[in-house]
């Protein structure tokens, strides 16, 4: 029996990286400050462990396999794609997904396409870890949830864990996957503790998680919004409404069967995403419900997302911008009255 401990989301990621490196000598880490690049002369080499401290301790354990890169996302992601295509299993850190624009080509046109362009003879076992989302007053250029962009590129997989347990298991699965995986770490969850088993385990990519069962409405969330869905379900339970909560976990591939199963059960879906609404995951799930689940629909499909606007810096405005349990409850009430 593995004992259940509580770890923060970032600690769970750290543990997964350590296990991946212990079990596979081809796994390397690279990114800005992942090896403590901010360290000054005379300080412990590993003082920082990345801008959010996620990789702390790893460079000591694996001195040759944790590489600080120059501040050039194009350079570091390009290097990682090349390393993956030529035999290593790199884990690159893109500090914030907001920087995706500066390194899009190696992901969009190389990593995502090589297996296809070479008839299956090439593979790119690359993992890009990146921090997403709002809720920490990081302002418009460091708070976006752009996973919908990578999820929309055929050839890339995209996962967004909502718990430390899934962060560890999904990261191990992502690193061991032979295709490029974008691994999103929602900012507002990074220090939230949760139970994390010891040892080596994987959470399969492409499988949603049924968080709680219910019969009246399905709340479908991902990453940071799963907690909001659970909070809403608690509130709705007091009002006599039984809400089922589904955590997508994997945005590409999408667990369509799990979405349709919960829709069939409750007949009513509210999709909750902290990303902007246009061309997003919430719209995608809503379209799936209407397209393949039409005969299950007992109510319209409702989306609770951020507005189509940049993330505000002001705490008050950022809170108003984000989805919340209260907004989800209001959406469900609206569907039912």
């Amino acid at each position: 029996m593995t004992q259940q401990r509580k770890l923060g989301f970032g600690q769970a990621v750290n543990e997964a990286l350590r296990i991946a490196m212990e079990t596979d000598p081809d796994v390397i880490l690279l990114g800005e400050d992942v090896a403590g690049g901010g360290t000054r002369e005379g300080e412990d080499v590993d003082e920082m462990g990345g801008v959010l401290g996620t990789t702390v301790g790893l460079v000591k354990a694996f001195p040759d396999r944790v590489l600080d890169t120059p501040i050039s996302e194009m350079g570091l992601i390009g290097t990682a794609v090349g390393a993956a295509a030529t035999g290593l299993r790199p884990v690159a850190e893109l500090m914030f997904i907001d920087f995706l624009g500066t390194c899009l080509d190696p992901l969009l046109n190389q990593a995502a396409k090589l297996r296809y362009m070479f008839g299956g003879k090439a593979r790119v076992p690359l993992t890009v870890r990146t921090v997403t989302g709002a809720g920490m007053q990081a302002a418009a250029q460091h708070s976006q949830s752009l996973y919908w962009m990578t999820a929309g590129i055929p050839g890339l997989k995209t996962v967004v864990p909502a718990t430390p347990h899934d962060a560890k298991g999904l990261l191990l699965a992502a690193i061991r996957d032979d295709d490029p995986v974008i691994f999103c770490e929602p900012k507002s969850l990074l220090f939230a503790p949760g139970e994390v088993p010891e040892g080596d385990y994987e959470v399969p990519i492409g499988k949603a998680r049924l968080v709680r069962e219910g019969s009246d409405v399905s709340l479908i969330g991902m990453g940071a919004t799963v907690r909001m869905c659970e909070g809403a379900a608690d509130q709705l339970a007091k009002e006599g409404v039984s809400a089922e909560v589904l955590d997508l976990r994997s945005l590409a591939p999408l667990d369509e069967e799990a979405i349709l199963a919960t829709l069939e059960k409750t007949g009513s879906v509210v999709v909750v995403d902290e990303a902007t609404p246009r061309c997003g995951i919430a719209s995608d799930v809503a379209a799936l419900c209407v397209d393949r689940g039409f005969d299950f629909l007992n109510t319209p499909v409702r989306r609770v997302t951020a507005p189509h606007a940049p993330v505000p810096f002001s705490k008050v405005l950022e809170d108003a911008y984000m989805p919340s349990a209260a907004k989800i409850v209001a959406a469900v009430r609206d569907l039912r009255t």
């Binding site: 007949g267 039409f294 629909l297 007992n298 109510t299 609206d334 039912r336 009255t337």
Partner: protein, 431 residues
């Protein structure tokens, strides 16, 4: 007024009015009449009504002479702004052009647009409801919607399918829904009032079911019962009740309890089939509908056809409930939600037909009350706006017991269920 003439038409003053007689023109052709002044007197259903001019002008022509009968909406007269304005076919056609013809009676009694209300929007049906109805082979247009905005939900189809299991045949090709609660004791049959279904007795049923076999009926066209069809009348409703009793309690008579129009049905049954009635309970009954009751029912039909059940419930609340209930916000809102959930189970077509049946029955049994043989309880509401004659009815029925719940509203079973239950069980146990 422009050069377009103003047309005067035969108004529709009541639900059942189809035609009227011009009794007297109070303005001679060629004379000027001021807006609001008396123009003519009509008679319909033994009532005379004074019709005022809706605009000032000269009465140029009358199309119906005194003593003649014209159907509702028929052209009676034309006014023009000046004494010599052209009044020919073209001018009349121009006056016809407005979609709503000016109606002389609109100030006193709003005329009904038509007997069959227009459907204003496509009815919303949840895809899941459509799929289930298809699977079960049910006709969706029979299923009332209780979802937001009246949307038919999957639960509505499930409830309808379950209700169809409870149907009791009352004549060839017609079956009505009978709900049963309680196994022991003598049978008690509940008949709901106008525009409501058996759920209006919900607050009484648990206590009753402890001591009686409770049967609650959804009349024709209500809930899952088969549609009422044209020519519905109270005698037919009473015959349905007789058929239900024959089916549900073939060996012995039942205690019959009716509320409002349900009381009319119960009274009709007690007069025509006394052998089926073990005892009679008339809750907020009437034998002659008051103008306020008729006007309420008229508005009820119209609102049901044009607005949401929530709006209809809100309209009805001050007419059906006591100040006590209305003052208690939480109870009021809860009651309104319950009422709004039940109201769609009586579709507009049923309301129209039932309203006609009520209007036709009104007054026909006023002299027959002394002939009621059943042991009778009249349960009246002290603050009843719609059927204020319950006490008089109780006095006219031989040996009738009467209980007046002080301050209660017309919908007694919802408004003051505890008092209603107490009076009812007391009566039934003595009976």
């Amino acid at each position: 007024m422009t050069n377009v003439p103003v047309l005067v038409r035969m108004p529709k003053l009541g639900m059942t009015m189809e035609e009227g007689t011009v009794v007297e023109w109070r303005v001679a052709v060629g004379e000027r009449v001021e807006k609001g002044a008396l123009l003519l007197v009509i008679e319909s259903e033994k009532n005379e009504a004074e019709i005022e001019a809706t605009a000032s002008g000269f009465l140029r022509h009358t199309f119906v002479a005194e003593g003649e009968v014209a159907p509702c909406g028929a052209l009676l007269a034309a006014l023009t702004e000046t004494a010599d304005a052209t009044l020919d076919a073209a001018a009349l056609a121009a006056a016809e052009a407005p979609t709503v013809p000016p109606d002389a009676a609109s100030e006193t009694a709003p005329p009904r647009a038509s007997a069959a209300p227009a459907t204003f929007e496509r009815r919303a049906v949840a895809p899941a409801a459509r799929a289930l109805a298809r699977k079960l082979g049910l006709e969706l247009d029979r299923v009332s919607g209780t979802g937001p905005g009246g949307r038919v939900t999957k639960q509505d189809v499930e409830a309808f399918a379950a209700a169809r299991e409870r149907l009791v045949p009352v004549e060839e090709g017609v079956a009505v829904e009978l709900l049963r609660e309680g196994q022991r004791g003598e049978p008690v049959l509940l008949i709901p009032g106008f525009g409501t279904d058996a759920s209006s007795f919900a607050a009484l049923v648990p206590a009753l079911a402890e001591r009686f076999q409770v049967l609650a009926l959804n009349p024709r066209g209500v809930g899952a019962s088969d549609p009422s069809g044209d020519g519905l009348d109270v005698a037919r409703l009473a015959a349905d009740v007789a058929a239900v009793i024959a089916h549900a309690s073939p060996q012995r008579p039942v205690h019959v309890v009716g509320a409002s129009l349900g009381a009319a049905t119960a009274l009709e049954l007690a007069l025509t089939r006394p052998e089926l009635v073990a005892s009679l309970t008339l809750i907020t009954p009437f034998v002659t509908a008051t103008p306020r009751l008729l006007a309420t029912i008229d508005a009820w039909c119209r609102i049901a056809a044009e607005a949401s059940p929530a709006a209809l419930a809100r309209f009805l609340a001050p007419l059906l409930f006591s100040d006590t209930l209305l003052a208690d916000e939480r109870r009021r809102e809860r009651t309104l939600r319950g009422l709004a959930a039940g109201l769609p189970r009586v579709p507009p077509a049923t309301l129209e037909r039932t309203a006609a049946a009520l209007g036709a029955w009104s007054g026909t049994r006023a002299d027959d009350l002394p002939r009621v043989a059943a042991r009778t309880l009249v349960l009246a509401a002290g603050a009843d706006l719609l059927t204020p004659d319950a006490e008089a009815i109780a006095r006219a029925i031989p040996n009738a017991a009467r209980v007046i719940v002080p301050g209660a509203g017309h919908a007694l079973a919802i408004d003051t269920p505890a008092a209603a239950t107490e009076a009812l069980t007391h009566h039934l146990e003595k009976a």
